[in-house]
């Protein structure tokens, strides 16, 4: 019966030249199975070795960085401004929360609330600084949401504090600016997109499980947003800036994705 080529668009219209296969048929049948396996293993090892070098090449790094920036844009599009993160009941709250910083908990330096001040900068009308007393007197809201770390662990936390959108409106911030950027007492820094800053579940947290936040978790003031990974929530905040300039962040400048939405 006549043989017709399969409808693959990758197959040459004239069909595949079988002579090459026929020529090498003897050779193919001669191939020692063990030799093939051995060869495959060394070939695999070789690609692994070259992989090590490829990883360090600058051009590969810059391509990966470009894709990471492209992924920032994709995440911006995926972000649903009014979609709430799942919330949980008080009985599911983990006490105390889990510590995370770029150093160990023993090296954490507690802040003196009496001396602490929140400075404001950038596209904000009222740049007067805030004391802890003033911040703690603001109307608070509470969210019981999941904290997810980029490493893969998570816990349910109960956070309360002033809603960030309300606070930005109160100080006359330009809500059309691109970024809200944070500086911290421990030299940590970070920035988030304005859409996330205006999300209903983004707050400047002052309390955990109804009690003032304890020292290791950012006393007196930290960010808590339900739509980003843990490292996007700066603790011990000392300055908030509203800006159109990209400010990056501590981990972001070390290769982690900037948007890091969840």
């Amino acid at each position: 019966m006549p043989k017709t080529p399969s409808p693959s668009i990758f197959r040459p219209a004239s069909g595949v030249d079988q002579s090459m296969l026929a020529e090498h048929k003897a050779l193919l049948q001669e191939i020692d199975r063990r030799k093939v396996l051995r060869g495959a293993v060394s070939l695999g090892a070789l690609t692994m070795l070259t992989g090590c070098n490829v990883t360090r090449t600058d051009s590969v790094q810059s391509v990966l960085k470009l894709i990471s920036q492209f992924n920032d844009k994709v995440q911006e599009l995926l972000f649903r401004p009014n979609h709430l993160a799942p919330t949980f009941s008080e009985s599911q709250v983990v006490k105390p929360p889990r510590f995370n910083a770029y150093y160990d908990i023993e090296d954490m330096v507690p802040l003196d609330a009496a001396k602490w001040k929140l400075e404001l900068a950038g596209k904000i009308k009222d740049k007067r600084s805030w004391t802890a007393q003033q911040i703690y007197a603001l109307p608070e809201q509470e969210w019981i949401v999941r904290h997810i770390c980029v490493e893969g662990w998570d816990y349910i936390g109960q956070w309360s504090g002033v809603n960030l959108r309300e606070f930005l409106e109160r100080i006359g911030a330009d809500l059309t600016a691109k970024y809200v950027s944070f500086k911290c007492a421990d030299d940590y820094y970070g920035s988030i997109d304005m859409a996330t800053a205006l999300h209903p579940q983004t707050i400047l947290a002052t309390r955990y499980a109804k009690e003032p936040i304890t020292d290791p978790f950012g006393f007196p003031l930290r960010l808590r947003t339900a739509t980003k990974l843990g490292f996007k929530n700066p603790k011990w905040i000392t300055e908030i800036e509203v800006t159109n300039q990209y400010r990056g962040g501590y981990w972001e400048d070390r290769g982690f994705n900037w948007f890091s939405g969840i």
Binding site: T55, A85, E151
Partner: protein
């Protein structure tokens, strides 16, 4: 398409192991650093979220092509239970023929259908791990956040298991490697003449 997928898979598995090492699911299981891709978690995450596009775009093209041309229907369906048992019996008696590499036996059909489905679930569980809030409806399907991570891990283990068998068998039947490089022998369109 096959080799683009192979590259994406190797990058995703290698970088996934590095990401896994940062917070292991099983205390006894850490992947040796020399087996992983990315150098550290930040590099591995960059590789993982770059290769994910390669897998998804290539995979969508593959599925669209397989469905539109009828390739899946022709090559992978139907899987007859009787033939399946016969194939397993022949295999155990070392009598399984590979004379016609353009046709998959029922075991091959099942494995290929299975791995395609596993990869689809793997993409879904991956999206649930990446965006448990934006895709919270999807994440609910897998239970908790850790549930999605576990499903994503099991999917990886099944794909790695498939790869070990798949590569070993392809090496044992060297004819198939020639076919993979040249596009394969011509095939008959009509299924009625296809089997002995």
């Amino acid at each position: 398409m096959h080799w683009t997928n192979a590259l994406a898979m190797i990058l995703l598995i290698g970088s996934g192991w590095e990401i896994y090492n940062d917070e292991v699911i099983f205390g006894w299981l850490h992947f040796p650093h020399w087996m992983t891709i990315g150098g550290g978690a930040e590099g591995a995450l960059q590789w993982h979220f770059a290769a994910m596009w390669l897998l998804m775009i290539n995979g969508l093209c593959y599925l669209a092509y397989g469905i539109a041309t009828g390739r899946f229907r022709r090559k992978l369906l139907p899987v007859s239970p009787r033939e399946l048992i016969a194939t397993i019996r022949d295999t155990l008696r070392f009598k399984l023929g590979h004379d016609d590499i353009t046709h998959y036996n029922p075991v091959q059909k099942l494995l290929y259908i299975g791995v395609i489905l596993i990869i689809i679930v793997q993409v879904l569980s991956g999206l649930a791990v990446w965006k448990p809030v934006q895709f919270s409806e999807l994440a609910t399907l897998f239970g908790s956040f850790q549930g999605s991570r576990l499903v994503h891990f099991i999917g990886m283990a099944l794909i790695v298991g498939f790869l070990v068998v798949h590569v070993a068998l392809a090496l044992i039947v060297p004819k198939t490697i020639g076919a993979m490089l040249t596009g394969g022998p011509e095939v008959e369109d009509d299924d009625r003449h296809s089997r002995e």
